[in-house]
């Protein structure tokens, strides 16, 4: 009885802020402006502009997820060796920027990357050729990697810390070289962390509209931008919800992956 009472606030929270909004999205997504049932909003994903936006979003978020993984895995391995004290300090340094608002940090990248921005000013000071990646897909990937890297590092670090040194040593004793250890010991043992890191980077990257707006100069339309515009500018909530439902399929797939490989929740960052 007592425990049920304790759960009360969370149940209210989940119903009010997750279940009801989700049902509303489903309702809007499956109806037209007059409230009649339709699948048209979902089929809209096949339209050239929407399909292209989805494809681009998948491509960019996949690229940034891979880059995050390639950056985070070696880092987590290094940090693991450092032991609790120093390793956590580096982790702390990684998290610190997150104390600042995400929008501000992305805006800062805009200022850094601009034609007359800080990086180009520095490069020209050194008489080096400038860079011009602002308003390109490259800038968007950079923004995604920068913003979501901590979400990859944390679960990886978490899961790698739990690997017993003896396991690694045993592999080495049995004659495995570094790559064999990596492939047969490190990676399988850290799979829960890898999967949860991938989800935590891939899902927000796939749905983002802020990063593509700020760093893409409004020239690159991702599926997140399309949905955002349907809600805020065009006022077509039905279409926006329909496309959100399609997007949700990809999110569900990644959640199922986590469910499959991370049963004990070992790799979660929180």
């Amino acid at each position: 009885m007592n425990r049920k009472l304790l759960a009360g606030p969370y149940i209210v929270w989940v119903i009010g802020f997750t279940v009801i909004p989700l049902l509303m999205i489903v309702y809007y997504g499956l109806t037209d402006a007059s409230g009649a049932f339709t699948l048209a909003n979902i089929m809209e994903i096949a339209r050239e502009e929407h399909a292209k936006a989805l494809w681009l979003a998948l491509l960019l978020s996949l690229a940034s997820t891979v880059i995050c993984l390639l950056l985070a895995f070696p880092l987590a391995m290094v940090l693991r060796k450092r032991g609790v004290g120093r390793g956590s300090f580096v982790i702390f340094l990684f998290i610190m920027p997150m104390w600042m608002n995400f929008l501000l940090r992305t805006l800062a990248w805009q200022t850094l990357l601009e034609k007359n921005g800080a990086i180009n000013a520095f490069l020209s000071f050194l008489h080096l050729p400038g860079i011009s990646i602002i308003n390109t897909p490259g800038a968007i990937i950079l923004g995604m990697v920068y913003n979501f890297l901590p979400f990859m590092v944390l679960p990886l670090y978490n899961v790698l810390c739990k690997i017993d040194d003896n396991t690694i040593n045993a592999a080495r004793d049995l004659g495995a070289n570094f790559f064999q250890t990596l492939v047969w010991v490190w990676i399988p043992l850290s799979l829960p962390g890898i999967i949860s890191g991938i989800t935590m980077v891939f899902v927000p990257a796939l749905t983002t509209f802020v990063i593509s707006n700020l760093l893409g100069g409004g020239k690159i339309l991702l599926i997140g931008n399309v949905i955002e515009q349907e809600f805020t500018k065009s006022g077509n909530w039905n279409l926006g919800s329909g496309l959100s439902l399609v997007l949700m399929i990809f999110i569900l797939i990644s959640m199922m992956l986590v469910e499959k490989y991370d049963k004990n929740g070992e790799g979660t960052a929180f």
Partner: protein, 362 residues
Amino acid sequence: MKKRFLSVSLAAVTAASAVLSGCSSSSGAGSAGEVYVYNWGEYIDEEVIDMFEEETGIKVIYDMFETNEEMYPIIEAGARVYDVVCPSDYMIQKMIDNNLLAEINFDNIPNYSQIDPEYIERSRAFDPENKYSVPYTWGTVGILYNTGMVAPEDVPTKWMDLWDEKFDGEILMQDSVRDAFMVALKALGYSMNSTDPDELAEARDLLIRQKPLVQAYVIDQVRDKMIGGEAAIGVIYSGEMLYIQEEVENLGLDYSLEYVIPEEGTNVWIDSWVIPANARNKENAEKWIDFLCRPDIAKMNFEYITYATPNKGAFDLLDEDLQNNKAVFPDVDSLNNCEVFSYLGEDVDMMYNEMWKEVKSK
């Protein structure tokens, strides 16, 4: 370990947002009731709110919106009931069409006489009988260019100059449907309120042709990017000009930024105060509007917002320099081909949105 760091950072973010959201309403005991005001962000000198509360004893509950489109569903759904709102021209027409507005009792607004008849006349484009709206600010949309980057012989005079390949990668376009289509439609010599699918398709193709030349589609950032010399030429609202001119002077830049009203004509926009049909404090709303029409108050707001004021009394109080600033107060002659946006109905709106999406996804 990590757990704690994360929760600390989350707490910091939540605390910060709590502080921010805490400042939306202002204090002051209200003995004469309340008025719920819904206005654009940074669209009033905040001292004016305090002065109004002090003089009338009416407590002001002040909220802000960022776009007309964001404001509309809130008023429509009655999610929050406001007494007085400040939308733009076409949105006012949409609200009138959908019976969301109350007729204003102009007997309660003696200072209405301060509004220049020119703008009351222009308001007929969206409020045909001048029954629902009181103009607050107005302005034009034009081309801003950097004198350091644009040679004197290339100075833009018409919208079509935004398709000049000399400006490859140096053009900033407005990232909003109607503004972008206004540029293309006017460049083609059509009305910016066109509802003809062929004309719109032509405008769309023109915008697609322009896209490779465009550096970025932005809204508010045109101002800062142009000041920073990021681009040579951009589409901008005239209301930004005073700020830009001051900033260029303050920073001691070696170029200046000049404003041109293209010869094909442009958009004259008007933001006006209206009273929603479901307002609970209509008389207080009228007192609010009247207060803002008072010349000294209108002058304070003009100096803060720097968007041109339709208030004759306030205009007369300004320095001569400002009165002659053509970027802020253009000659009436240059406005000959200009139009005011009107609401085109849901179907046409949808057509614009679809075509804009086609431009953006190319």
